[in-house]
Protein backbone atom coordinates (compact mmCIF):
# COMPACT_ATOMS: atom_id res chain seq x y z
CA UNK A 1 0.00 0.00 0.00
CA UNK A 2 1.12 3.52 -0.75
CA UNK A 3 1.19 5.41 2.53
CA UNK A 4 1.05 8.81 0.86
CA UNK A 5 -0.20 9.22 -2.67
CA UNK A 6 -1.01 12.42 -4.54
CA UNK A 7 -2.63 12.44 -7.97
CA UNK A 8 -2.38 15.61 -10.03
CA UNK A 9 -2.55 17.54 -6.79
CA UNK A 10 -2.83 21.24 -7.62
CA UNK A 11 -3.18 24.33 -5.50
CA UNK A 12 -3.49 27.90 -6.70
CA UNK A 13 -3.74 30.88 -4.40
CA UNK A 14 -5.93 33.03 -6.58
CA UNK A 15 -3.71 33.40 -9.62
CA UNK A 16 -0.53 32.51 -7.78
CA UNK A 17 0.99 29.13 -8.27
CA UNK A 18 1.25 26.85 -5.25
CA UNK A 19 1.75 23.38 -6.69
CA UNK A 20 0.82 21.98 -10.10
CA UNK A 21 -0.12 18.40 -10.99
CA UNK A 22 1.89 16.90 -8.19
CA UNK A 23 2.20 13.12 -8.36
CA UNK A 24 3.93 11.50 -5.41
CA UNK A 25 3.99 7.99 -4.02
CA UNK A 26 5.49 7.19 -0.67
CA UNK A 27 5.82 3.53 0.18
CA UNK A 28 5.20 1.96 3.54
CA UNK A 29 8.12 2.24 6.01
CA UNK A 30 9.95 4.57 3.68
CA UNK A 31 11.84 7.70 4.67
CA UNK A 32 10.96 9.94 1.78
CA UNK A 33 12.69 13.27 1.20
CA UNK A 34 10.96 16.25 -0.31
CA UNK A 35 13.47 18.83 -1.43
CA UNK A 36 13.32 22.17 -3.14
CA UNK A 37 14.22 25.78 -2.66
CA UNK A 38 12.08 28.17 -0.63
CA UNK A 39 8.87 28.97 -2.46
CA UNK A 40 8.93 25.81 -4.59
CA UNK A 41 5.72 24.48 -3.04
CA UNK A 42 6.93 22.20 -0.25
CA UNK A 43 4.86 23.77 2.49
CA UNK A 44 1.85 24.07 0.20
CA UNK A 45 2.03 20.32 -0.42
CA UNK A 46 2.34 19.54 3.27
CA UNK A 47 -0.42 21.92 4.33
CA UNK A 48 -2.71 20.35 1.78
CA UNK A 49 -1.85 16.88 3.06
CA UNK A 50 -2.61 17.77 6.68
CA UNK A 51 -5.84 19.58 5.80
CA UNK A 52 -4.95 23.19 6.53
CA UNK A 53 -5.65 24.19 2.94
CA UNK A 54 -7.73 22.53 0.24
CA UNK A 55 -6.55 21.51 -3.22
CA UNK A 56 -7.75 23.45 -6.26
CA UNK A 57 -7.90 20.13 -8.11
CA UNK A 58 -6.46 16.66 -7.95
CA UNK A 59 -6.57 14.37 -4.96
CA UNK A 60 -4.41 12.79 -2.33
CA UNK A 61 -4.61 9.98 0.15
CA UNK A 62 -2.78 9.03 3.30
CA UNK A 63 -2.90 5.42 4.55
CA UNK A 64 -5.43 4.79 1.78
CA UNK A 65 -7.82 7.44 3.10
CA UNK A 66 -8.87 10.53 1.16
CA UNK A 67 -7.42 13.76 2.61
CA UNK A 68 -10.70 15.63 2.19
CA UNK A 69 -13.22 12.99 3.17
CA UNK A 70 -11.33 11.23 5.96
CA UNK A 71 -9.35 14.16 7.32
CA UNK A 72 -10.12 13.42 10.96
CA UNK A 73 -9.19 9.75 10.82
CA UNK A 74 -6.00 10.58 8.93
CA UNK A 75 -4.96 13.14 11.52
CA UNK A 76 -5.28 10.51 14.22
CA UNK A 77 -2.42 8.63 12.57
CA UNK A 78 -0.07 11.39 11.52
CA UNK A 79 2.53 13.23 13.50
CA UNK A 80 3.00 16.63 11.94
CA UNK A 81 5.97 18.82 12.76
CA UNK A 82 5.62 22.33 11.32
CA UNK A 83 8.62 24.41 10.43
CA UNK A 84 7.59 27.24 12.73
CA UNK A 85 5.77 26.60 15.94
CA UNK A 86 3.36 28.76 17.85
CA UNK A 87 1.43 27.76 20.96
CA UNK A 88 -1.20 29.14 23.30
CA UNK A 89 -0.11 31.59 25.95
CA UNK A 90 -0.41 30.83 29.62
CA UNK A 91 0.06 27.06 29.49
CA UNK A 92 2.94 24.98 30.75
CA UNK A 93 4.56 22.50 28.40
CA UNK A 94 2.91 19.65 30.27
CA UNK A 95 -0.53 21.26 30.10
CA UNK A 96 -0.16 21.75 26.37
CA UNK A 97 0.92 18.16 25.82
CA UNK A 98 -1.96 16.92 27.98
CA UNK A 99 -4.35 19.08 26.01
CA UNK A 100 -2.98 17.68 22.76
CA UNK A 101 -3.09 14.09 24.06
CA UNK A 102 -6.76 14.39 25.03
CA UNK A 103 -7.67 14.96 21.37
CA UNK A 104 -6.33 11.47 20.67
CA UNK A 105 -8.18 10.03 23.64
CA UNK A 106 -4.91 8.72 25.02
CA UNK A 107 -3.40 9.80 28.34
CA UNK A 108 0.24 10.85 28.48
CA UNK A 109 2.50 7.85 28.87
CA UNK A 110 6.07 6.87 29.69
CA UNK A 111 7.05 8.07 26.28
CA UNK A 112 6.71 11.66 27.42
CA UNK A 113 9.33 11.35 30.15
CA UNK A 114 11.71 9.58 27.81
CA UNK A 115 11.33 12.12 25.01
CA UNK A 116 11.50 15.05 27.44
CA UNK A 117 14.83 13.69 28.70
CA UNK A 118 16.21 13.10 25.23
CA UNK A 119 15.34 16.61 24.10
CA UNK A 120 15.98 18.27 27.45
CA UNK A 121 12.53 19.78 27.71
CA UNK A 122 11.44 21.14 31.07
CA UNK A 123 7.76 20.18 31.26
CA UNK A 124 6.96 22.68 33.99
CA UNK A 125 8.06 25.73 32.00
CA UNK A 126 5.50 28.17 30.69
CA UNK A 127 5.34 28.00 26.89
CA UNK A 128 5.25 31.78 26.58
CA UNK A 129 8.76 31.94 28.06
CA UNK A 130 10.30 29.44 25.63
CA UNK A 131 12.68 30.37 22.82
CA UNK A 132 11.75 29.30 19.30
CA UNK A 133 14.23 26.41 19.49
CA UNK A 134 12.64 25.18 22.69
CA UNK A 135 9.15 25.55 21.24
CA UNK A 136 10.32 23.39 18.39
CA UNK A 137 11.42 20.72 20.85
CA UNK A 138 7.96 20.81 22.43
CA UNK A 139 6.53 20.37 18.93
CA UNK A 140 8.74 17.32 18.44
CA UNK A 141 7.41 15.77 21.65
CA UNK A 142 3.88 16.54 20.62
CA UNK A 143 4.50 15.07 17.17
CA UNK A 144 5.70 11.70 18.51
CA UNK A 145 3.53 11.28 21.61
CA UNK A 146 0.45 9.67 20.11
CA UNK A 147 2.53 7.04 18.28
CA UNK A 148 1.70 8.13 14.74
CA UNK A 149 2.02 5.75 11.78
CA UNK A 150 3.15 8.52 9.47
CA UNK A 151 5.45 11.42 10.27
CA UNK A 152 5.11 14.57 8.19
CA UNK A 153 8.06 16.80 8.90
CA UNK A 154 8.36 20.30 7.46
CA UNK A 155 11.89 21.68 7.85
CA UNK A 156 12.07 19.73 11.11
CA UNK A 157 15.53 20.70 12.28
CA UNK A 158 15.01 24.39 11.62
CA UNK A 159 15.94 26.14 14.87
CA UNK A 160 17.52 23.12 16.56
CA UNK A 161 21.14 23.09 17.67
CA UNK A 162 23.43 20.37 16.18
CA UNK A 163 23.18 18.10 19.24
CA UNK A 164 19.39 18.21 19.16
CA UNK A 165 19.42 17.69 15.40
CA UNK A 166 21.45 14.52 15.89
CA UNK A 167 19.05 13.28 18.55
CA UNK A 168 16.12 14.11 16.33
CA UNK A 169 17.54 12.05 13.43
CA UNK A 170 18.16 9.22 15.85
CA UNK A 171 14.53 9.21 17.00
CA UNK A 172 13.24 9.41 13.44
CA UNK A 173 15.49 6.50 12.47
CA UNK A 174 14.26 4.46 15.43
CA UNK A 175 10.62 5.19 14.65
CA UNK A 176 11.21 4.20 11.05
CA UNK A 177 12.74 0.91 12.14
CA UNK A 178 9.56 0.27 14.08
CA UNK A 179 7.48 0.71 10.93
CA UNK A 180 6.73 4.41 10.80
CA UNK A 181 6.68 6.04 7.36
CA UNK A 182 8.40 9.42 7.16
CA UNK A 183 7.80 12.30 4.78
CA UNK A 184 10.66 14.69 5.26
CA UNK A 185 10.63 18.13 3.68
CA UNK A 186 13.71 20.31 3.61
CA UNK A 187 15.59 22.81 1.52
CA UNK A 188 18.88 21.37 2.76
CA UNK A 189 19.91 18.35 0.72
CA UNK A 190 22.61 17.14 3.07
CA UNK A 191 19.92 16.81 5.73
CA UNK A 192 17.76 14.70 3.46
CA UNK A 193 20.77 12.72 2.30
CA UNK A 194 21.49 11.77 5.87
CA UNK A 195 18.21 10.07 6.50
CA UNK A 196 16.21 9.43 3.34
CA UNK A 197 16.30 6.61 0.86
CA UNK A 198 14.33 8.33 -1.87
CA UNK A 199 13.84 11.96 -2.65
CA UNK A 200 11.44 14.04 -4.74
CA UNK A 201 12.79 17.30 -6.07
CA UNK A 202 10.26 20.08 -6.43
CA UNK A 203 10.81 23.18 -8.47
CA UNK A 204 8.36 25.99 -9.17
CA UNK A 205 5.43 23.90 -7.98
CA UNK A 206 6.24 20.79 -10.00
CA UNK A 207 8.06 17.59 -9.15
CA UNK A 208 11.06 17.52 -11.47
CA UNK A 209 12.49 14.20 -10.34
CA UNK A 210 12.00 11.35 -7.92
CA UNK A 211 15.23 9.47 -7.33
CA UNK A 212 16.92 7.05 -5.02
CA UNK A 213 19.52 8.94 -3.06
CA UNK A 214 22.02 6.29 -4.13
CA UNK A 215 21.23 6.55 -7.83
CA UNK A 216 21.14 10.29 -7.63
CA UNK A 217 24.74 10.10 -6.53
CA UNK A 218 25.52 7.60 -9.27
CA UNK A 219 23.99 9.74 -11.97
CA UNK A 220 27.37 9.70 -13.58
CA UNK A 221 27.86 13.29 -12.67
CA UNK A 222 31.44 14.01 -11.70
CA UNK A 223 33.24 17.07 -10.50
CA UNK A 224 36.55 17.55 -12.33
CA UNK A 225 39.40 19.79 -11.13
CA UNK A 226 42.52 20.17 -13.16
CA UNK A 227 45.67 22.25 -13.11
CA UNK A 228 48.12 22.54 -15.99
CA UNK A 229 51.49 24.13 -16.61
CA UNK A 230 50.15 26.63 -19.17
CA UNK A 231 46.79 28.44 -19.38
CA UNK A 232 44.10 26.18 -20.80
CA UNK A 233 42.03 27.47 -23.75
CA UNK A 234 38.27 27.04 -23.10
CA UNK A 235 37.87 25.55 -26.56
CA UNK A 236 39.86 22.50 -25.48
CA UNK A 237 37.05 21.53 -23.12
CA UNK A 238 34.08 22.19 -25.37
CA UNK A 239 32.77 18.70 -24.93
CA UNK A 240 29.19 17.52 -24.66
CA UNK A 241 28.47 16.73 -21.01
CA UNK A 242 30.57 19.55 -19.59
CA UNK A 243 28.60 21.87 -17.31
CA UNK A 244 29.37 24.83 -15.07
CA UNK A 245 32.78 25.26 -16.67
CA UNK A 246 35.07 27.68 -14.87
CA UNK A 247 38.51 28.50 -16.30
CA UNK A 248 40.90 30.63 -14.27
CA UNK A 249 44.25 30.63 -16.02
CA UNK A 250 45.87 27.29 -15.25
CA UNK A 251 43.00 26.10 -13.02
CA UNK A 252 39.85 24.56 -14.45
CA UNK A 253 36.75 23.18 -12.73
CA UNK A 254 33.58 21.67 -14.20
CA UNK A 255 30.83 19.10 -13.79
CA UNK A 256 30.80 16.24 -16.25
CA UNK A 257 28.00 13.84 -17.09
CA UNK A 258 29.07 12.21 -20.38
CA UNK A 259 31.26 9.38 -21.57
CA UNK A 260 34.33 8.92 -19.37
CA UNK A 261 36.50 7.86 -22.31
CA UNK A 262 35.86 10.96 -24.37
CA UNK A 263 36.65 13.08 -21.31
CA UNK A 264 39.94 11.29 -20.77
CA UNK A 265 40.78 11.60 -24.42
CA UNK A 266 40.25 15.37 -24.35
CA UNK A 267 42.17 15.71 -21.10
CA UNK A 268 45.12 13.66 -22.39
CA UNK A 269 45.85 16.37 -24.97
CA UNK A 270 46.34 18.95 -22.21
CA UNK A 271 49.64 19.58 -20.36
CA UNK A 272 48.17 18.55 -17.00
CA UNK A 273 49.87 18.78 -13.64
CA UNK A 274 47.07 17.68 -11.35
CA UNK A 275 43.73 15.99 -11.96
CA UNK A 276 40.98 15.01 -9.54
CA UNK A 277 37.66 13.50 -10.51
CA UNK A 278 35.27 13.22 -7.59
CA UNK A 279 31.67 12.51 -6.74
CA UNK A 280 29.83 15.80 -6.53
CA UNK A 281 27.88 16.80 -3.45
CA UNK A 282 24.14 16.37 -3.59
CA UNK A 283 23.89 20.13 -3.49
CA UNK A 284 25.69 20.20 -6.83
CA UNK A 285 23.52 17.49 -8.31
CA UNK A 286 20.58 19.47 -7.09
CA UNK A 287 21.86 22.66 -8.71
CA UNK A 288 22.33 20.63 -11.86
CA UNK A 289 18.60 19.85 -11.87
CA UNK A 290 17.77 23.46 -11.32
CA UNK A 291 19.95 24.61 -14.13
CA UNK A 292 22.15 26.59 -11.82
CA UNK A 293 19.46 28.68 -10.15
CA UNK A 294 18.28 28.15 -6.65
Amino acid sequence: MKVIETRKLTKFYGKHRGIIDLDLEVEEREVFGFVGPNGAGKSTTIRTLVGLIFPTRGSASILGMDIMRDAREIKRHIGYLPSEVEYYDGMTVKELLEYSARFYGAPLNDRLQELAEVFQVDLSRNITDLSSGNKKKVAILQCFLHKPKVLILDEPTNGLDPLMQARFYEIVRRENEQGVTVFFSSHILSEVQRICRRVAIIKEGRVVAVEDIASLRKKNLSRVHLESRTPIPEAALRLSGVKSLSVQGEKVEFLYSGEVNSLLEALSRLPMERLTIEEPSLEEIFMHYYGGEQ
Binding site: L52, I53, A71, R72, K75, R76, E84, Y87, Y99, F103
Partner: protein, 268 residues
Protein backbone atom coordinates in the same frame (compact mmCIF):
# COMPACT_ATOMS: atom_id res chain seq x y z
CA UNK B 1 -18.54 18.40 19.05
CA UNK B 2 -15.30 18.06 20.96
CA UNK B 3 -15.48 18.54 24.72
CA UNK B 4 -11.73 18.94 25.13
CA UNK B 5 -11.83 22.00 22.90
CA UNK B 6 -15.09 23.22 24.45
CA UNK B 7 -13.71 23.25 27.99
CA UNK B 8 -10.43 24.76 26.83
CA UNK B 9 -12.38 27.60 25.18
CA UNK B 10 -14.35 28.18 28.39
CA UNK B 11 -11.08 28.42 30.26
CA UNK B 12 -9.41 30.58 27.68
CA UNK B 13 -12.21 33.16 27.63
CA UNK B 14 -13.16 33.28 31.26
CA UNK B 15 -11.30 36.51 32.03
CA UNK B 16 -13.06 38.33 29.19
CA UNK B 17 -16.40 37.00 30.45
CA UNK B 18 -15.71 37.93 34.08
CA UNK B 19 -14.59 41.46 33.24
CA UNK B 20 -17.53 42.30 30.98
CA UNK B 21 -20.11 40.65 33.22
CA UNK B 22 -18.90 42.28 36.42
CA UNK B 23 -18.71 45.64 34.69
CA UNK B 24 -22.35 45.41 33.60
CA UNK B 25 -23.51 44.00 36.92
CA UNK B 26 -21.89 46.95 38.71
CA UNK B 27 -23.51 49.43 36.28
CA UNK B 28 -26.89 47.82 36.77
CA UNK B 29 -26.73 47.71 40.57
CA UNK B 30 -25.58 51.32 40.57
CA UNK B 31 -28.43 52.36 38.25
CA UNK B 32 -31.05 50.53 40.29
CA UNK B 33 -29.67 52.08 43.47
CA UNK B 34 -30.44 55.61 42.24
CA UNK B 35 -34.00 54.69 41.22
CA UNK B 36 -35.52 55.38 44.70
CA UNK B 37 -34.23 58.96 44.68
CA UNK B 38 -35.65 59.57 41.18
CA UNK B 39 -39.03 58.24 42.30
CA UNK B 40 -39.04 60.26 45.53
CA UNK B 41 -39.36 63.61 43.81
CA UNK B 42 -41.80 63.33 40.97
CA UNK B 43 -42.17 67.07 40.48
CA UNK B 44 -38.48 67.55 40.04
CA UNK B 45 -38.45 64.69 37.57
CA UNK B 46 -41.15 66.33 35.48
CA UNK B 47 -39.21 69.62 35.34
CA UNK B 48 -36.06 67.67 34.58
CA UNK B 49 -37.71 65.85 31.68
CA UNK B 50 -39.24 69.06 30.31
CA UNK B 51 -35.87 70.59 29.52
CA UNK B 52 -34.97 67.75 27.19
CA UNK B 53 -35.92 68.07 23.52
CA UNK B 54 -38.63 65.67 22.32
CA UNK B 55 -36.23 63.87 19.98
CA UNK B 56 -33.77 63.04 22.74
CA UNK B 57 -36.56 61.78 24.98
CA UNK B 58 -37.80 59.52 22.20
CA UNK B 59 -34.34 58.14 21.58
CA UNK B 60 -33.80 57.22 25.20
CA UNK B 61 -37.41 56.36 25.97
CA UNK B 62 -37.63 58.93 28.74
CA UNK B 63 -41.19 59.86 29.64
CA UNK B 64 -42.95 60.62 32.89
CA UNK B 65 -45.09 57.51 32.76
CA UNK B 66 -42.14 55.16 32.36
CA UNK B 67 -40.19 57.00 34.94
CA UNK B 68 -42.80 56.67 37.64
CA UNK B 69 -42.10 52.97 37.89
CA UNK B 70 -38.82 51.41 39.15
CA UNK B 71 -38.64 48.90 36.28
CA UNK B 72 -39.49 51.63 33.79
CA UNK B 73 -36.50 53.65 34.90
CA UNK B 74 -34.21 50.66 34.68
CA UNK B 75 -35.63 49.67 31.27
CA UNK B 76 -34.45 53.03 29.88
CA UNK B 77 -30.92 52.06 30.72
CA UNK B 78 -31.31 48.42 29.74
CA UNK B 79 -31.09 49.33 26.06
CA UNK B 80 -27.75 50.93 26.70
CA UNK B 81 -26.31 48.27 28.99
CA UNK B 82 -27.57 44.98 27.70
CA UNK B 83 -28.11 45.85 24.05
CA UNK B 84 -25.34 48.29 23.27
CA UNK B 85 -22.57 47.21 25.65
CA UNK B 86 -23.77 43.60 25.59
CA UNK B 87 -23.81 43.75 21.80
CA UNK B 88 -20.22 45.00 21.72
CA UNK B 89 -19.18 42.26 24.15
CA UNK B 90 -20.92 39.63 22.02
CA UNK B 91 -19.71 40.74 18.61
CA UNK B 92 -16.06 41.21 19.59
CA UNK B 93 -16.05 37.90 21.45
CA UNK B 94 -17.70 36.16 18.49
CA UNK B 95 -15.23 37.66 16.06
CA UNK B 96 -12.25 36.45 18.03
CA UNK B 97 -13.17 32.99 19.21
CA UNK B 98 -12.45 31.32 15.86
CA UNK B 99 -10.19 33.81 14.11
CA UNK B 100 -7.73 34.25 16.97
CA UNK B 101 -6.38 30.78 16.19
CA UNK B 102 -5.19 32.17 12.88
CA UNK B 103 -4.14 35.54 14.23
CA UNK B 104 -2.06 33.97 16.98
CA UNK B 105 -0.82 31.22 14.68
CA UNK B 106 -2.18 28.41 16.80
CA UNK B 107 -4.54 27.23 14.05
CA UNK B 108 -1.84 24.94 12.70
CA UNK B 109 -1.74 23.11 16.03
CA UNK B 110 -5.51 22.94 16.46
CA UNK B 111 -6.42 21.91 12.92
CA UNK B 112 -3.87 19.11 12.78
CA UNK B 113 -5.47 17.42 15.81
CA UNK B 114 -7.98 14.69 14.88
CA UNK B 115 -10.96 17.03 14.54
CA UNK B 116 -13.23 17.99 11.69
CA UNK B 117 -13.66 21.63 10.83
CA UNK B 118 -17.30 21.37 11.88
CA UNK B 119 -16.28 20.05 15.28
CA UNK B 120 -14.02 23.06 15.72
CA UNK B 121 -16.85 25.47 14.89
CA UNK B 122 -19.40 23.52 16.97
CA UNK B 123 -17.20 23.38 20.08
CA UNK B 124 -16.20 27.02 19.87
CA UNK B 125 -19.73 28.19 19.09
CA UNK B 126 -21.14 26.24 22.00
CA UNK B 127 -18.51 27.66 24.37
CA UNK B 128 -19.38 31.10 23.04
CA UNK B 129 -23.12 30.69 23.62
CA UNK B 130 -22.50 29.23 27.06
CA UNK B 131 -20.91 32.52 28.01
CA UNK B 132 -23.53 34.63 26.22
CA UNK B 133 -26.22 32.78 28.14
CA UNK B 134 -24.37 33.17 31.45
CA UNK B 135 -23.79 36.85 30.70
CA UNK B 136 -27.52 37.49 30.23
CA UNK B 137 -28.46 35.40 33.24
CA UNK B 138 -26.01 37.45 35.33
CA UNK B 139 -27.51 40.71 34.05
CA UNK B 140 -31.04 39.65 34.84
CA UNK B 141 -30.00 38.35 38.27
CA UNK B 142 -28.40 41.73 38.95
CA UNK B 143 -31.62 43.50 37.94
CA UNK B 144 -33.73 41.16 40.07
CA UNK B 145 -31.45 41.44 43.08
CA UNK B 146 -31.27 45.22 42.73
CA UNK B 147 -35.02 45.71 42.37
CA UNK B 148 -35.82 43.26 45.17
CA UNK B 149 -33.31 44.97 47.44
CA UNK B 150 -34.85 48.41 46.95
CA UNK B 151 -38.49 47.68 46.28
CA UNK B 152 -39.20 44.24 47.71
CA UNK B 153 -41.29 42.16 45.35
CA UNK B 154 -43.20 45.14 44.09
CA UNK B 155 -42.20 45.05 40.43
CA UNK B 156 -43.16 43.33 37.21
CA UNK B 157 -41.24 40.05 37.10
CA UNK B 158 -42.46 39.18 33.63
CA UNK B 159 -41.16 42.55 32.46
CA UNK B 160 -37.68 41.83 33.82
CA UNK B 161 -37.64 38.39 32.28
CA UNK B 162 -38.67 39.71 28.86
CA UNK B 163 -35.91 42.31 29.01
CA UNK B 164 -33.50 39.46 29.74
CA UNK B 165 -34.98 37.32 26.99
CA UNK B 166 -34.54 40.05 24.40
CA UNK B 167 -31.01 40.89 25.46
CA UNK B 168 -30.21 37.18 25.09
CA UNK B 169 -31.61 37.25 21.54
CA UNK B 170 -29.82 40.50 20.84
CA UNK B 171 -26.38 39.41 22.04
CA UNK B 172 -26.80 36.03 20.31
CA UNK B 173 -27.50 37.75 17.01
CA UNK B 174 -24.51 40.07 17.26
CA UNK B 175 -22.32 37.20 18.43
CA UNK B 176 -23.35 35.03 15.48
CA UNK B 177 -22.72 37.96 13.15
CA UNK B 178 -19.26 38.29 14.71
CA UNK B 179 -18.48 34.59 14.12
CA UNK B 180 -19.51 34.92 10.50
CA UNK B 181 -17.74 38.15 9.55
CA UNK B 182 -14.50 37.15 11.26
CA UNK B 183 -14.17 34.43 8.61
CA UNK B 184 -14.51 36.97 5.82
CA UNK B 185 -11.91 39.33 7.20
CA UNK B 186 -8.26 39.26 6.30
CA UNK B 187 -5.85 38.33 9.03
CA UNK B 188 -4.51 41.17 11.11
CA UNK B 189 -7.47 43.52 10.64
CA UNK B 190 -8.77 45.14 13.80
CA UNK B 191 -11.61 42.89 14.87
CA UNK B 192 -12.50 44.93 17.94
CA UNK B 193 -12.75 48.12 15.86
CA UNK B 194 -14.97 46.57 13.19
CA UNK B 195 -17.19 44.81 15.74
CA UNK B 196 -17.69 47.83 17.96
CA UNK B 197 -18.27 49.98 14.88
CA UNK B 198 -21.01 47.68 13.59
CA UNK B 199 -22.91 47.73 16.87
CA UNK B 200 -22.58 51.51 17.20
CA UNK B 201 -23.71 52.11 13.62
CA UNK B 202 -26.89 50.07 14.09
CA UNK B 203 -27.48 51.85 17.40
CA UNK B 204 -27.08 55.28 15.80
CA UNK B 205 -29.33 54.35 12.87
CA UNK B 206 -31.97 53.33 15.36
CA UNK B 207 -31.53 56.56 17.36
CA UNK B 208 -31.88 58.74 14.25
CA UNK B 209 -34.89 56.83 13.04
CA UNK B 210 -36.57 57.25 16.43
CA UNK B 211 -35.81 60.96 16.57
CA UNK B 212 -36.99 61.88 13.11
CA UNK B 213 -40.18 60.77 11.37
CA UNK B 214 -38.61 61.26 7.96
CA UNK B 215 -36.11 58.48 8.38
CA UNK B 216 -38.19 56.28 10.67
CA UNK B 217 -38.23 53.54 8.00
CA UNK B 218 -34.52 53.06 8.70
CA UNK B 219 -35.38 51.49 12.05
CA UNK B 220 -36.28 48.28 10.25
CA UNK B 221 -32.66 47.65 9.29
CA UNK B 222 -31.38 47.86 12.86
CA UNK B 223 -31.72 45.02 15.38
CA UNK B 224 -32.46 47.66 18.02
CA UNK B 225 -35.92 48.08 16.49
CA UNK B 226 -36.67 44.40 16.94
CA UNK B 227 -35.56 44.41 20.55
CA UNK B 228 -37.46 47.58 21.46
CA UNK B 229 -40.09 46.54 23.99
CA UNK B 230 -42.09 48.61 26.46
CA UNK B 231 -42.49 46.65 29.67
CA UNK B 232 -44.07 49.54 31.61
CA UNK B 233 -47.08 49.53 29.33
CA UNK B 234 -47.22 45.75 29.44
CA UNK B 235 -45.73 45.28 25.98
CA UNK B 236 -43.40 42.33 26.33
CA UNK B 237 -42.59 42.00 22.68
CA UNK B 238 -43.41 38.34 22.11
CA UNK B 239 -44.41 38.79 18.50
CA UNK B 240 -43.58 36.26 15.83
CA UNK B 241 -41.77 38.70 13.53
CA UNK B 242 -39.41 39.83 16.28
CA UNK B 243 -38.55 36.27 17.24
CA UNK B 244 -38.22 35.29 13.59
CA UNK B 245 -35.86 38.19 12.97
CA UNK B 246 -33.52 37.28 15.83
CA UNK B 247 -33.67 33.50 15.65
CA UNK B 248 -33.67 33.39 11.86
CA UNK B 249 -30.67 35.66 11.41
CA UNK B 250 -28.75 34.05 14.27
CA UNK B 251 -29.31 30.61 12.77
CA UNK B 252 -28.37 31.88 9.32
CA UNK B 253 -25.07 33.38 10.48
CA UNK B 254 -24.17 30.23 12.40
CA UNK B 255 -24.92 28.04 9.38
CA UNK B 256 -22.85 30.31 7.15
CA UNK B 257 -20.00 30.10 9.67
CA UNK B 258 -20.07 26.30 9.50
CA UNK B 259 -20.23 26.34 5.71
CA UNK B 260 -17.39 28.85 5.29
CA UNK B 261 -15.06 27.29 7.83
CA UNK B 262 -15.42 23.83 6.30
CA UNK B 263 -13.81 25.08 3.11
CA UNK B 264 -11.56 27.81 4.44
CA UNK B 265 -7.85 27.72 3.68
CA UNK B 266 -5.98 28.38 6.90
CA UNK B 267 -2.73 30.29 6.67
CA UNK B 268 -0.40 30.64 9.59
Amino acid sequence: MNWNLYFKELRRNRVRFIIWTSLLVIFIIFTVSVVPSILRDREQLETFLKVYPEAIKKVFGMDVESWSNPLGIYATYHGFYAYLLGGIFAITFGMEIISKEENRRTAEFLLTRPLTRSEVVASKTLAFFTYIFAFNVAIICAVLIGLTGFFGTNFDLKGVLSLGFFSLLFTSLFGALGLFISLLMKRGRSLVGVGTGLVLVTYIIDAFAKASEKVSFLRWVSPFKYGDIDVVRGFYGFEWWRLLFFLGLTALFILLTFALYRKKDIYV
